[in-house]
């Protein structure tokens, strides 16, 4: 029998993705264990956001495959359009985007309960109760009937996180979720994610915020040119990188000039 604590949650092998002639992911191999919190850093255009979008099943792929919790999830086909994505498996993954992507015509509560009611056939009353609990936990108890346009960026992003959690995901993907926020609002969103981290929620995070990366990561990947250049614990990748490219990048984002 496979040991549940060490069996991989995600395993990616030979993942390739191209936009036309542009190779964005050039054969990624990656395994992620349950309870791990992967932070993906790297220069723009290095493939980190694409990796997350592929994980969410938002993109067709050109080669390779992904298994999730032991089940086949995504498999490349003869052409990118024939990529096989298991929709049932996809439902156990949640994602939060840079630009909130709340549904503007629905209020906060309606945003939260739409998927549970429609996807799982949950009763409206039960979903509402769970939604309210989540909102209170995230400091949004007063905002249940507000519309997205009436919220600050930080509030919107917390609602987006709550909305994703309503489906009890087994893995959460965060794609630059604080990049569009005013600096003073970044903290409240990061606190919510740290709170999830303390409950051992497996997650993959793309971020430019090195302080946040250091605090939340159990493992850091440095992605550039469509490859994983370096992969290790945060102290190593952020503190004493082995690879020259990682070192260059870290130096530049921390403004260290020698």
């Amino acid at each position: 029998m496979i040991d549940r604590a060490t069996a991989p949650l995600v395993s990616v092998s030979g993942l390739q993705k191209a936009y036309g002639a542009l190779q964005v992911l050039q054969g990624i191999d990656l395994t992620m264990k349950p309870g791990e919190r992967l932070v993906v850093i790297g220069p723009s255009g290095g493939g980190k956001s694409t990796l997350l979008r592929v994980m969410m099943g938002l993109e067709n792929i050109n080669g390779g495959s992904i298994t999730f919790a032991g089940k086949p999830y995504i498999h490349a086909g003869a052409t990118p359009a024939k990529t096989a994505i298991d929709v049932q498996v996809r439902r156990s993954i949640g994602m939060v985007f840079q630009h909130y992507t709340l549904f503007p015509h629905l209020n906060v509560l309606q945003n939260l309960i739409l998927a549970p009611c429609k996807v799982r056939g949950e009763k409206k009353s039960a979903a509402t109760e769970r939604a309210n609990t989540l909102l209170i936990r995230f400091g949004l108890g007063q905002k249940a009937t507000a519309f997205p346009s009436q919220l600050s960026g930080g509030q919107k992003q917390r609602v987006a996180i709550a909305r994703a959690l309503m489906l009890d995901p087994k893995l959460m993907l965060f794609d630059e979720v604080t990049s569009a926020l005013d600096p003073e609002l970044v903290g409240e969103v990061e606190q919510v994610i740290l709170q999830l981290a303390r409950q051992n929620m497996p997650m993959m995070i793309v971020t430019h915020d090195m302080w946040f990366a250091k605090n939340i990561a159990s493992r850091v990947l440095f992605c550039a040119g469509g490859f994983i250049v370096e992969d290790g614990p945060p102290e190593q990748v952020l503190g004493a990188p082995k690879e020259e490219r990682t070192k260059d990048f870290i130096d530049r984002v921390f403004h260290i000039r020698q």
Binding site: L58, R91, M95, T101, H105, L114, V119, S149, K156
Partner: protein
């Protein structure tokens, strides 16, 4: 020239009112029917089915690419010949203006469907929403909301275009106005009054469009 004498209008106020009611009735019927057609044609134009796309595209382009007057004449003079039955003035006018309204509102619906960003579809996938829920709970409500201001503009256009039915002898506001003007030889007073009646109805509606547009854009701004 003879001094202006607006009292002539008082003598004919009942006739003008009857004409206005015909204009409004015609406009309202065509708004309802035209919007219904426009909604489905708008969907058909964004469909994956090539035949559906081709037929709906041809319909819209043809009605947007020809004068409403000729559409009206065609339906008024030609359709009865083809069908081999008489069509009343009112029926012909309703058919013609409905088809015109259907064509312009379908463009409105199509544009608002296309204005929904890629991220909204991504969010639906990330939440695992089935295709049907995505369409009925996320895409269509937003598309309809976004379409409202332009739809209202379309209604105002239709209201104005409806004056054309006077050319095929339907007794709408314009027809009665020109008749009175011819009979009394007082075109300045009568035609100005007719123009003002159209204006008094259309103008507040155009203001409403601007107001509603701002409200909806603020609400949907995310």
């Amino acid at each position: 020239m003879a001094p202006l004498d607006f009292s002539v209008l008082l003598r004919f106020q009942d006739a003008l009112l009857t004409g206005l009611l015909t204009t409004l009735e015609l406009t309202l019927i065509c708004i309802v029917l035209g919007c219904a057609i426009g909604f489905f044609v708008g969907l058909a134009r964004t469909s994956d089915n090539r035949i559906l796309r081709g037929v709906s595209g041809f319909y819209v382009e043809f009605f947007r690419g020809t004068p409403v007057l000729i559409q009206l004449f065609w339906i008024f003079f030609c359709l009865p010949l083809l069908l081999g039955t008489e069509l009343s003035n009112f029926t012909s006018a309703v058919i013609a203006l409905t088809l015109y309204m259907g064509a312009i509102t379908s463009e409105t619906f199509r544009a608002s469907l296309r204005s929904i960003g890629r991220e909204q579809y991504d969010a639906c996938v990330a939440l695992g929403l089935p295709r049907w829920t995505q369409t009925t709970s996320v895409v269509l409500p937003q598309a309809v909301l976004r379409a409202i201001p332009t739809l209202l503009s379309n209604c105002i256009s239709l209201f104005k275009e409806s004056a054309l039915v006077s050319a095929v002898g339907m007794t709408d506001l314009m027809f009665i106005g020109s008749n009175i003007s011819n009979n009394t030889a007082r075109p300045v007073e009568v035609l100005t009054a007719v123009a003002l009646i159209y204006f008094v109805i259309a103008f507040p509606l155009t203001r409403a469009v601007t107001f509603i547009e701002q409200r909806i854009l603020t609400k949907l701004a995310v």
